[in-house]
Symmetry: C2
Subunit: 181 residues, 2 copies
């Protein structure tokens, strides 16, 4: 791989991690490279730096665009497409979560809803149906929570995350507070 060795190990590692986040090794490495590069990169540069084929890079770029993680930046006097991250690190992370929810969580919720809708009322399936209901409710709770906090501005969100379970202490006071207001 033709990048500074300090960066290489991160790019490689990020490739491995990428596969946990819904895209394959090479796509993960491509994203890492684009994020760490101050200048936008073209397909040929990426292929060269990662030592993979031009065709593979083309497919990977398409995938990263479908995730809305990168976008093109026209370079004056050059017909090639140059790519840069579609937002800040923070925005990219939220975008990955949002996209995964759309691609994975929504279909699961739909399936569970329709299963529970058409459920026959036979005793030997009641236990399974109850578990499916619990799973549905849990996923929906997480999903709604994410949807909600995703709308917050990054600074508020950071504050919220830093507070963590400390929020619980504040919550305990909420009723009292509201009564006083």
């Amino acid at each position: 791989m033709k990048v500074a060795s300090e960066i290489e190990s991160f790019v490689v590692h990020f490739g491995e991690m990428g596969s946990r986040w819904g895209f394959n090794r090479t796509v993960g490495q491509m994203l890492a490279l684009i994020v760490l590069s101050e200048q936008p990169l073209n397909a040929e540069q990426i292929a060269e730096m990662l030592g993979v084929s031009r065709g593979n890079v083309s497919m990977g770029l398409k995938e990263l665009q479908s995730w809305q993680l990168i976008r093109t930046q026209p370079q004056p006097g050059d017909r090639k497409d140059y790519f840069k991250p579609a937002g800040s690190i923070w925005e990219l992370a939220l975008q990955v979560l949002a996209e995964r929810r759309k691609r994975e969580v929504e279909p699961t919720l739909s399936l569970l809803r329709s299963e529970l809708m058409n459920a026959d009322n036979v005793p030997e399936q009641q236990y399974a149906q109850q578990k499916m209901q619990e799973i549905h409710d849990l996923i929906e709770l997480f999903s709604r929570w994410f949807d909600d906090v995703n709308k917050m501005n990054p600074e508020s969100l950071k504050t919220l995350l830093k507070l963590g379970s400390g929020v619980g202490k504040v919550l305990g006071m909420k009723d009292r507070l509201i009564a006083k207001s």
Copy 2:
């Protein structure tokens, strides 16, 4: 697959999803089956129901145990191992998240820390290093948050999730509240 058809489609779907959560299709299906089954199941029953080999089930059970998602339950008068979920749906979900953090997030944080530690101070890498620092800080923030809320009891956690960004409104009142207490 030898299970009620209402359950089958969920088990199959859960298998697909499982692969996004760190284990393969069959392991995902095995977990779904064990979770939906009121009675503990033995390896032979699972192999039979999913139509996979006994050896495959043995490996899958080992994996689910290493994730601490299932445990054995001795059945009087039967030498076979019978498996059941290691906790409630809620506990299993948190366990998957906790395990993934241990297996994926921690190594990434370590790598980033050591990269940033040994970073040379050469100008052409400053941008990349700054991005790595941002990624590190973001991951650490999420990680700490999760660690923290993971310690909450399920009921408080549910309340917190339901409140979502509504917490923001309460937070704005926090200083005032504390001043009054």
